[in-house]
């Protein structure tokens, strides 16, 4: 599951990847004609809308690409860098950049690209951008308040606006298509030449087909997660037979033993966990099973992973999903935590063992009932730190 950095591609190999991605980026920008300021500013004077076409197409394709990757369970968006929203600095910074764009004729990426093929104005622009950064750094105390004001976190647009994601995507795509049509009319008028809006060449048809396929697949086909959920929705005796279990006694023993290999995957509500926190436990939700970072827990070797919930049925469901996702090394607690509370934590010490064999169990349960509350109290006194998701660091 993506992103591949840092666990599949290490931080140093990532620098090699960065150079390769940069080569492709520079090559595409130059081939598209972004290496000349005349073509770039044509966007603002109506004689050349190449920038809008390339930029808007790229944005739409990437948007659909990311949605499709997410949809098929190949990318965990929780680990992807989402540019933070600082409303005032975004607006002020954007306006200043817009001014810089019409005066300088480049933006940072295109200036580097144009400088690489010998444009002197681009080299000057790059030099200027160093001055701009220096100015910001030196004047930081002046800018700091504006820079940090209006922090909204790192929301995605459909979270901010409340417009459902598919609708927003549809709207943005429509805006792009209308814009492509409109700018071709403007261009024709400004330049006084007539060119058809769309030329059905092999290239344009292929490009449209690739885009269309990615776009449709991200919505039309059922999401990987939904498929898995429906496949594991049915819990029966057969499921119960497939999934290894752990008795409440073994569980209590491992807890008392402070077994370093024990990993308790706790699917209870946060309230229930607060009420009865277990040692060696990690709080989990159904969604966590589909996220890359929490699932690292199951990848550790030679661990005893036990899924616990209030009742056994919930445990079976979660274990079935975990196994579908390829994590076979999971067990469930027999009877759920309800049985654990009944037979261990509230064990009736006055009961009389029915057989000779039950005497040992009776003795153990009595001991566990005595000693476990102290371990639980330790957990209660030091609640686990809230989970921090390590997103990729991005932005400029």
């Amino acid at each position: 599951m993506g992103p591949l950095v840092p666990d599949i591609i290490g931080p140093n190999l990532n620098f090699v990847v960065a150079i390769l991605i940069g080569v492709a980026f520079g090559w595409i920008l130059e081939q598209a004609g972004f290496s000349t300021s005349k073509k770039l500013v044509g966007l603002f004077y109506g004689y050349d809308f190449t920038v809008l076409r390339v930029f808007f197409t790229a944005g739409i394709v990437a948007m659909f690409g990311v949605i499709a990757l997410q949809h098929f369970g190949l990318l965990d968006i929780n680990l992807v860098y989402i540019n933070p929203t600082f409303i005032w600095s975004a607006l002020a910074g954007g306006l200043i950049m817009g001014l810089g764009f019409v005066i300088g004729g480049f933006c940072p990426g295109t200036s580097v690209c144009a400088a690489a093929i010998g444009k002197i104005d681009a080299m000057l622009f790059v030099a200027g951008s160093f001055l701009g950064v220096l100015l910001f750094a030196e004047g930081y105390p002046l800018f700091e308040e504006l820079y940090k004001a209006g922090h909204w976190g790192s929301p995605q647009i459909f979270e901010t606006t409340g417009i459902p994601k598919p609708l927003f995507v549809l709207l943005l795509t429509t805006v792009a298509l209308v814009a492509f049509w409109a700018v071709s009319l403007i261009e024709a008028r400004v330049n006084g030449e007539k060119r058809p809006f769309i030329q059905l060449t092999r290239v344009s048809v292929t490009a449209a087909a690739v885009g269309g396929l990615i776009a449709v697949s991200g919505f039309a086909l059922p999401a990987e997660k939904d498929v898995l959920l429906s496949r594991t929705a049915h819990i029966d005796a057969e499921t119960r037979g497939r999934i290894p279990t752990m008795t409440v006694d073994e569980f209590a023993f491992r807890l008392l033993d402070d077994d370093p290999r024990l990993q308790v995957v706790d699917f209870r509500s946060s309230d229930a966990i607060k009420h009865l926190p277990l040692p060696h436990a990690t709080a989990f939700t159904l969604d966590n099973l589909f996220e890359k970072e929490p699932m690292q827990l199951f990848v550790k070797k030679n661990m005893v992973n036990i899924i616990v919930a209030d009742d056994e049925r919930s445990e079976l469901r979660m274990a079935a999903i975990a196994r579908e996702l390829g994590h076979d090394n999971v067990r469930i607690l027999e009877g759920g935590l309800a049985a654990f509370e009944r037979d261990i934590l509230r064990f009736d010490t006055s009961s009389v063992p029915e057989s000779r064999a039950a005497v040992d169990t009776h003795r153990f349960r009595a001991r566990a009932r005595r000693e476990l509350p102290a371990l639980i109290a330790v957990q209660q006194a030091a609640p686990a730190a809230p989970k921090v998701i390590k997103r990729a660091v991005g932005g400029c």
């Binding site: 992103p3 690209c113 093929i117 995605q156 990729a392 932005g395």
Partner: protein, 171 residues
Amino acid sequence: MNPKPYMNPYLAGVLLGLLLTATIFITGRGLGASGAVKSATVATVTTVAPSHAAASKYYNEYQEEHPDGALKNWLVFEVIGVVIGAFLSGLLSGRLALKLEHGPRSTSRMRFAGAILGGALFGLGAQLGRGCTSGAALSGMGVLSTGGLITMMAIFGGAYAFAYFFRKLWL
């Protein structure tokens, strides 16, 4: 050699979009450019004037966020790649040439000043806006980030708003 024609803009857009998708899939982050300028600037200042940098809040905050040093930065490597890629593209398409381009009614001197001033404004704005056309606008659109989309609209809206006043530079 006559320069080859530019690529179809929609094809270039699809390729760029696929590249951005691949970048996000592989690295969990988008493309960028101005961040490399920032890294280089910080590296220069901390090397040339270490005592000044140590006393300045900005450089300290930057170093806190980038403990490995300013130049060991993903964008620095990416931009090195951009230089290589653009150079190869220019070489293969016959567009390598040292020249200063300016509008028909503008002069070399005006272009000289405009490029530096524009670059400075863009550099400053990109710091304030936490990213430029690549890092905030394009990559922000790919992940549908609210902040990225706002920055994008502000950049292009701003450019259109100011374009009239600088038409003499270009038309």
